[in-house]
Symmetry: C2
Subunit: 335 residues, 2 copies
């Protein structure tokens, strides 16, 4: 694969130009471009620049309103709600966080519910920012249904990730968990289908709920939940938070995140921000450090988020190597 | 097994008498006795009356201070903290919920952090009560370390359950999730060890992190996380919330929940209560009902909590059959 090294500023600028050329407002594009650079910095290439052509296509086909103006409300002293108005999730999250962060510091805990939204990219990007503000951040985001309930075979909930970020001593989270409810990402099954390769048993189930190694059969069936019924529990927790609790569209009713048909998915996000100093009486930092140390002293053991943190530091210094074919696709959008 | 049917009031009364006879104050015993009856009603016999002799022993050996007086504080407008003072978790949760429930209705979201506490029994008993008050309840409780980190072999976090209860139309939660981070409860491995039976592969790991079918080897090693590294993620989330965020004792430092040595474990609980009407703009009930229906229309499919709900209705009408040997053990405590 032909690669070229770009600085994070260059990645952000490229993303911005393509999104605007495709019909996204400056404000909306800016939020997404910053997230794209941060995602490349974290080493998650699958959700970085590679997504820009998809985002642009979704603006052009009307799956996302590039000029949406999200609106914010504060219905109760600890609650912020944002209506994303069928626009990108990122500007709505930015708008919500502007209120959520000071509110959480003041109240000790605050919630942000976002409805009529879209795929928010890497969920941990958003909880990271809460941790960088000194708060414990928890996030949920729902997706079109692809996991079946226990005892059933028809999908009712998405691969629905949750994320938690615990603030460390110098603005970097000490722990950043960001995991979906399925054994593997649906995009991996789609990739195997495109390449005509079988998938390992345990990744997906057929339409009757039986294991399959055929990716096409799996895509017509359901994604296997991680750890069986406990993975279904995680997906349901996320569906409750990101859809039922926000007034967003349930996974059973949402249009697909991929392709151009079906109009806006109008799914949701839910964030909680909590002040560790208030809840722990001051003992948070010491305990978090002791927990992290108990893991880091073990040879080969690691905390969720360790990998991203190392890559981030490196990318800030030396930039990121990106796929030239992806770059050409993006440059063609604003050429 | 010789069984006898008791009413829920009889179960509560028996529990109360035994706990008081063992040295528990009336107030503290009352909270625990009510939970014991409710747990038997839910059909979770392992955590019902069977636990009363253990609780009594723990009061007698000093692992729990039966006369502890928990203290409550409100450090921020949305945060309640309770110091359980090495007493039972249940009276501290009761004390905290008295403040948490009205606060969540007023603020839209509120948090309860409990430190210096103890095993809280069935976590879903507590989140159930938040849902019965019309709130979405989320709970976390930590335990002595028994799960190793990804890439490591030495336990750093407990089997750490979380629970979420979503309020239904008539005071009964529509969904009640209550699941631990391990493939199976540690008590099951202990039971196999007592009975000299091998355990299935996938339940526990030896001290080097390899799979084992010997329960004694597993108990000296670690419990297998559900779904591999994603189960570790759930255990870490719970450890963050129930210990680091409350100022309670981390699982790596906590004394065992079983046996009589080590003094009080002083572990913790964390609860969030959220007003679905505030966050969803009123669309919560309709979405929850649609999600539940999408599951219940599938032959054989069920929602977490369905089983407990059916048993609860039956137990309220006809009582619960309990093990006579357990009854005799309990009666001996106050005879």
């Amino acid at each position: 694969m032909d690669m070229k090294t770009l600085s994070l500023a260059e990645i952000e600028e490229l993303s911005l130009r393509a999104l605007i050329a495709a019909g996204t407002s400056q404000d909306n594009a800016r939020a997404l471009a910053a997230a794209t650079a941060a995602t490349e910095a974290d080493g998650i290439a699958s959700h970085g620049l590679a997504y820009i052509p998809i985002y642009c296509e979704h603006v052009q086909c009307g799956k996302v309103d590039g000029h949406a103006k999200p609106t914010v409300e504060l219905p109760k002293p600890g609650v912020v709600t944002v209506d994303a108005a069928s626009g990108f999730a990122h500007p709505s999250i930015d708008l919500g966080f502007e209120r959520l962060i000071p509110l959480a510091r003041e109240q000790g805990v605050a919630a942000l519910a976002i409805r009529n939204s879209y795929n928010c990219g890497v969920l941990g990007y958003h909880t990271y920012r809460l941790a960088a503000a000194g708060l414990l951040g928890i996030g949920f985001t729902n997706a079109p249904a692809s996991i079946a309930p226990s005892g059933g075979a028809k999908p009712v909930v998405g691969t629905n990730p949750f994320s938690v970020a615990a603030p460390g001593p110098e603005g970097e989270p000490t722990i950043l968990i960001d995991q979906s409810a399925s054994t593997i990402a649906k995009s991996e099954v789609m990739k195997h289908a495109r390449e005509g390769k079988p998938i390992p048993e345990g990744w997906a189930l057929d339409a009757q709920g039986n294991p399959t190694t055929d990716p096409d059969v799996g895509l017509k069936g359901s994604m296997a939940p991680s750890g069986g019924y406990k993975g279904v529990g995680i997906a349901l927790l996320t569906e409750l938070m990101a859809a039922a609790m926000t007034g967003a569209t349930l996974g059973i009713n949402a249009s697909p995140f991929s392709g151009t048909v079906g109009g806006p998915p109008r799914t949701g996000q839910f964030f909680l921000a909590i002040d560790p100093g208030a809840t722990s009486g001051g003992g948070f930092g010491e305990r978090l450090a002791a927990l992290a140390e108990a893991i880091h002293v073990q040879d080969g053991a690691h905390l969720p988020g360790d990998g991203r943190q190392g890559k981030r530091a490196e990318a800030r210094k030396n930039g990121v190597a990106v796929n030239v074919a992806t770059l050409q696709k993006i440059e063609a959008i604003f050429a």
